[in-house]
């Protein structure tokens, strides 16, 4: 493996390949941090891969009372889909089922001023069965939906932005414990403004390849080239010598630069936390519009 050395880690001479996606930022507030977090966890559940879940979503960050429209504790959630229509459908489903149902919550748009929007309260209001009411506050329309607790307040629509999905790092070490520790350090460093890490804890162990060696109907199957247990079984293994476990971190971001800088933070954190190798997944550069060469991430964040 050519590339360069960064701390304990050999950095591969390769690149991550990513795709344009559309995204929404949803601000969830509640009477306490705990309830806001409950709603956010529910909303971002089963949203790891757009292939299997129709969207990718994650908590972006916690919001202080001073940062939320209603002065209560909050959570910012990023939700990504392949197009605006997809964002609209998924946001509506998930806010309806996971946020409206959660005690004390309210829901706001975190991309105010975006050129494109999708309806949210404008559609959810029908749950109010004719008893819903709207208020225009500072030029923005909100819907008051009567519920058993009191009222659920939700914004009329949410903005949709152009983002980047599928940035990634693959972090390897001699064994599972060491690789996971490095991956956790990387994921922690990567989280921030404009970044969603949609997999559990931000980390995926079952990285996939497009298609399948054995079935034409499979859209994706295990990345056998990066499975250490198959090293001696396949001709095209990419598992470096001495590596016993590999983890991938998939990064969706609000912009190309947000993804690049998150990858830079993650790369350096992994290298400082015991990773022996860091590489990235791509499709030969033919499918994704955005390329993130690891060679450009050498300078520290």
């Amino acid at each position: 493996m050519s590339g360069y050395q960064l701390g304990s880690a050999q950095i591969a001479d390769t690149f991550a390949e990513a795709f344009p996606m559309r995204y929404a930022r949803i601000l969830i507030t509640a009477a306490s941090d705990a309830w806001a977090l409950e709603a956010a966890h529910s909303m971002t559940g089963f949203a790891t891969s757009v292939i299997g879940c129709k969207c990718e979503a994650a908590i972006e960050r916690s919001l202080t009372c001073a940062e939320t429209p209603d002065g209560r504790p909050g959570i910012a959630v990023l939700l990504f889909a392949m197009d605006r229509e997809g964002v609209g459908k998924r946001v509506l489903e998930r806010v309806g089922q996971s946020v409206m149902t959660c005690p004390t919550t309210a829901c706001f748009d975190g991309l105010e001023g975006a050129d494109k929007t999708v309806p949210l309260g404008a559609s959810l209001r029908y749950f109010g069965d004719g008893f819903q009411a709207s208020k225009v506050i500072a030029g923005r329309r909100f819907w008051r939906i009567p519920v058993m607790e009191g009222e659920f307040l939700v914004c009329e629509s949410v903005g949709v932005g152009s983002g980047v999905g599928g940035g990634n790092l693959v972090i390897a070490a001699a064994d599972e414990d060491a690789a996971l520790a490095a991956a956790r350090a990387a994921a922690e460093a990567m989280r921030g403004e404009g970044i969603a890490l949609p997999f559990p804890g931000g980390i995926v162990r079952s990285g996939s390849k497009v298609g399948s060696l054995t079935s034409k109907s499979m859209a994706a199957s295990t990345n056998h080239q990066m499975a250490p247990t198959l090293r001696a079984q396949v001709d095209d293994t990419l598992v470096p010598g001495g590596v016993g476990a590999m983890f991938e971190i998939v990064i969706d971001g609000a912009s190309e630069s947000a993804v690049r800088e998150a990858m830079r933070r993650g790369l350096h954190a992994a290298a400082g936390a015991g990773a022996t190798h860091v590489t990235a997944a791509n499709f030969g550069g033919k499918l994704g519009q955005f390329h993130f060469p690891l060679s450009e991430l050498r300078d520290p964040p």
Binding site: P69, D70, G71, A133, K135, V136, G150
Partner: protein, 258 residues
């Protein structure tokens, strides 16, 4: 530079100030504004006869009126954009039939604040009116959309025949509020006895009201944190109409004492 009109002296009769709205003054320099006509009693007078004019009408459409303007009626009436800031009291019909923009009065307002003119189907259809002091009778009468917020009390009959929108009186809403109200919200920061056509629903923390109170705080009203934290009693009415309107009355005196 913001267009500022400072009252020279009390006018000899009531003045109809409705022409002085930002959208009509945009692009005019001080001398052009000074030459505009206003109705004063049965006479026509120039703005210059009543006000010292400085600045010019800007693209930002901000107009400042300064002085005791209790004899000036219709300030900000039918404005649709921009912002008027009044440093002093205003007369009747301030903000009548506003459709957009912001009218901020740092003083008291007379009767029919943000109301519909007689015979009109609807009054305010948008925009925001904020008065730091008290307001007279029938504030927000006939309003369809928008916000009227008063730091002090409103007189009797606030929200008369309102279709929708919100009237807030932090110091308490006057008697007979919300007569003929269809979908509007009346908000009283102090105890008030609703009309018999309103029925008590519940006590709760209305999330939309929290946003509205934060907004009026931004616009210059002093809003006690207790109003943001505490519970409100919801009364539904007018039952002789749709029963879709509401009167929200702050009833968490324990929170206020803290």
């Amino acid at each position: 530079m913001t267009l500022t009109l400072t009252l020279r002296a009390d006018p000899p009769a009531r003045v109809l100030a409705a022409p002085l709205i930002p959208e009509r003054l945009r692009g005019l320099n001080a001398s052009a504004v000074a030459a505009l006509d206003l109705r004063c009693g049965g006479e026509t007078v120039a703005v210059d006869d009543l006000f010292e004019v400085s600045g010019a009408g800007t693209e930002e459409e901000e107009l400042v009126l300064a002085g005791d303007l209790r004899r000036f009626d219709g300030i900000g009436a039918r404005m649709s954009s921009g912002e008027i800031v009044v440093r002093g009291d205003v007369g009747a019909w301030a903000g009548a039939e506003v459709s957009g923009g912001v009218l901020r009065v740092f003083g008291d307002a007379g009767a029919r604040l943000g109301a519909a003119y007689p015979g009109a189907r609807a009054g305010m259809t948008g925009g925001e009116i904020v008065v730091t002091g008290d307001a007279g009778e029938e504030a927000g009468a006939g309003m369809r959309r928008g916000l009227v917020a008063v730091g002090g009390r409103t007189g009797n009959g606030a929200g008369l025949r309102m279709l929708a929108g919100t009237v807030i009186a932090l110091g308490g809403i006057g008697a007979e509020a919300g007569l003929g109200n269809k979908r509007g919200s009346l908000v009283s920061g102090r105890p008030v006895e609703p009309l018999p056509a309103y029925a008590f629903a519940t006590r709760f923390r209305p999330p939309a009201l929290g946003l509205q109170l934060r907004r009026v705080r931004e616009l210059g009203l002093t809003v006690d944190d207790a109003l943001l934290r505490g519970t409100w009693a919801r009364w539904s009415g007018d039952q002789t109409e749709l029963t879709r309107g509401e009167i929200l009355i702050f009833d968490d005196e324990e929170e206020r004492r803290e």
